[in-house]
Symmetry: C2
């Protein structure tokens, strides 16, 4: 497997576009299209929030019922959540419009929205936007980047990646893009992510791979503990790589899962590091846990702790908050048997062991905590299980961004 340039247009037969539709934002791209020249099998995972946005309800049905999918239309600015029947009517209008303009069935169109909750999307603007998208769509890498830019809300950079790998002697490409960066918390992690691949695979195996993967990728990140109403991960596979179709588990499936995990983890880390107001990516690796479930719970608890996040922002080696967050996670352990390290490109220091603080240098700790990527390594000494979670620090800018997000 090898990383290459590009995003959602990297795989064969995929086109994309990102344009300005003024759905809510002005003077920036706010609508994206992903289009496959041939029908795709599609799979998806969606928010577990009881309050689901209209596009989530819409896509859940399409992914389940439509045998093939050929396009995704997404907008930023307005989430189309808590919008009642009018919100679902908007999804229908989008699919009908996109179907007509792209010459495909409306049932093969997926939709996604992100932005402020509770406001209705102006349907005339969004259909006019689809017209522009259909005209602008292209297979270039730039078109993929335009799409990645168009789905951003409070993100500061677009997030895309592509990889190639071999399946039954054929080169397969997998590309993706995603956006954060507030209301980011697992289950399904609060975000939009779109993956495209020319892999030939059954719908069932595609769904299986994605569902298994998110548990240790997107669902292991948190910016603020708020699980959104709009979380959506969609993957489209059009089969143009012409590999022997993956219809069951085996070596080919494993190769795909490995590439998938590389891509989703890359995007998840980007999302965490670009969390609202973030100045640092904050990673927590738990090793030696008694169970996988415990490892995940412990790692997640640390990256979700407001106090720990504020300390990371302040480059303050306040490790007591980390131990505290492990302690209230719900996992059982003996605090006397835990070891903690702070790590970054600047080095690694042992900070807690045998139930008390180690004799570390505060200066060295501050240096490590001043790097843009900071890792807390936790050894529970209870077993062999590991997990990694990703978050970011809590800064003044998080408050600033969210105190008046709607205006």
């Amino acid at each position: 497997m090898k990383q290459i340039q590009g995003g959602v247009t990297a795989a064969k037969g995929f086109q994309a576009a990102g344009i300005e539709a003024a759905v809510k934002y002005r003077d920036r791209k706010d609508m994206a299209l992903i289009y496959s020249e041939t029908p795709c099998v599609a799979a998806g995972t969606f928010t577990t929030n009881v309050v689901k946005a209209a596009p989530v309800l819409w896509d859940q049905r399409v992914v389940k019922e439509s045998p093939y999918v050929q396009a995704v239309v997404a907008n930023s600015g307005i989430a189309n959540a808590c919008t009642g029947k009018e919100g679902l009517d908007c999804c229908e209008a989008e699919c009908r419009c996109a179907g007509e303009l792209l010459g495909i069935s409306p049932d093969s169109v997926l939709v996604a929205s992100t932005g402020v909750i509770g406001r209705q999307i102006p349907v005339d603007r969004i259909t006019e936007g689809i017209r522009k998208l259909a005209a602008a769509k292209s297979h270039t890498l730039e078109a993929g980047t335009d799409a990645a830019k168009a789905i951003m809300t409070t993100d500061t950079v677009e997030k895309e990646i592509a990889v190639v790998f071999e399946i039954s002697g054929k080169t397969v490409t997998l590309g993706g893009m995603c956006k954060g960066s507030g209301m980011i918390h697992p289950n399904m992690c609060t975000m939009l992510a779109f993956l495209t691949t020319d892999l030939q695979i059954s719908k069932q195996m595609l769904q299986k791979a994605v569902s298994a993967d998110v548990v240790d990728s997107f669902n292991m990140i948190s910016v603020d503990g708020d699980t959104s109403t709009n979380d959506t991960l969609l993957i489209l596979a059009n089969g143009q790589a012409d590999n022997e179709a993956i219809l069951e588990e085996g070596a080919d499936y494993d190769t795909f899962c490995e590439a998938l995990h590389f891509v989703t983890t890359y995007l998840a880390r980007k999302m965490a590091g670009d969390g609202e107001g973030a100045t640092a990516l904050f990673e927590t690796k738990v090793v030696g846990a008694a169970s996988k479930e415990d490892a995940r719970t412990l790692a997640k608890s640390v990256v979700c702790s407001s106090l720990t996040k504020a300390a990371i922002f302040g480059h303050d080696a306040n490790w007591g908050r980390i131990l505290c967050a492990l302690g209230y996670s719900g996992a059982q352990f003996d605090p006397e048997n835990v070891d903690l390290w702070f790590q970054s490109v600047s080095g690694s220091i042992h900070i807690y062991g045998n139930g008390v603080a180690c004799d570390y240098s505060e200066e060295e700790a501050t240096k490590i905590l001043s790097d843009p990527e900071v890792t807390v390594l936790v050894d529970m000494h209870m077993g062999e299980q590991t997990a990694t979670a990703w978050g970011c620090d809590l800064s003044y800018d998080y408050v600033k961004i969210n105190a008046d997000y709607r205006s």
Copy 2:
């Protein structure tokens, strides 16, 4: 029942003191003593964090094993958490010293600490502090206030209250004090709270009353979702009101529970409103829930949502975040059947119903959200159960306070 002046010295036979011991802070009171002239039955509830501070481990044993308790020694500045054997030795030294100076058994002394985790308490300073406390102790209301000031960390005001009520023809007094204001999250809510009463009651019934009460008082507040290592609620009852002893449930027990709930709710609200960096008390009342458990879960989820808290700080009627927080709480419901109101002394506006936004005035909403106490009323229309949770907004100052708390 009637509220009166005072705090922990309001009830008959109780004395207190607050003095400067320079445990960590300089030029401010940082050690408190509560002393009863006669032996008390005691009850307590403690943090559920796996990582328990030394004084928590110590007090759990004393409350369980000692038939009578007569004093509480508390310090702020250092939490005596993650301090290993040396931390427990410190507790022992405190109790021995206090026992000698007060002329009581060391087994009848409780200890409590709050502040930074992972640092050892200088035992010489704390024993010198106990000497000062023993000399300064007094039954005046000022002495109670001194004690309330001495347990403060990032709190901006001391928090105390006292009430009187009648039991079997006798006037009983119940007083209390507590401190917040970071690492505040239930189970047992992250805090120190000390209650004193001259009620005559069995230890068993006292524990029963306190354990039942915290579920709907202290455990319903959250400042930042971090459950501390040090949470401690202690109540001492010395029987000097000379009422017929409460030995079982009944009218007398109910009268006491009512007074207890008034006092704990008062202190809990004070703690939430004085959360780190808070500019407003943020209350969420859930009515019409299917079960009590659901009502509590829903109310807590809203006051814990970082995004909602930031919106309250910005006086921004971003109700979508509230619906989102209800949705990921874990409770099941139909979003189309929920009604939301914003309320304050300035008025009440219906903001969401029938699955969409109501036609409310943003100006009026901003006015309500600019008051120092803001309530979100949520009607689930699913049953008769209710719950109220208390939190505060998320401000720049929360980040400021916690980015460099240790220095």
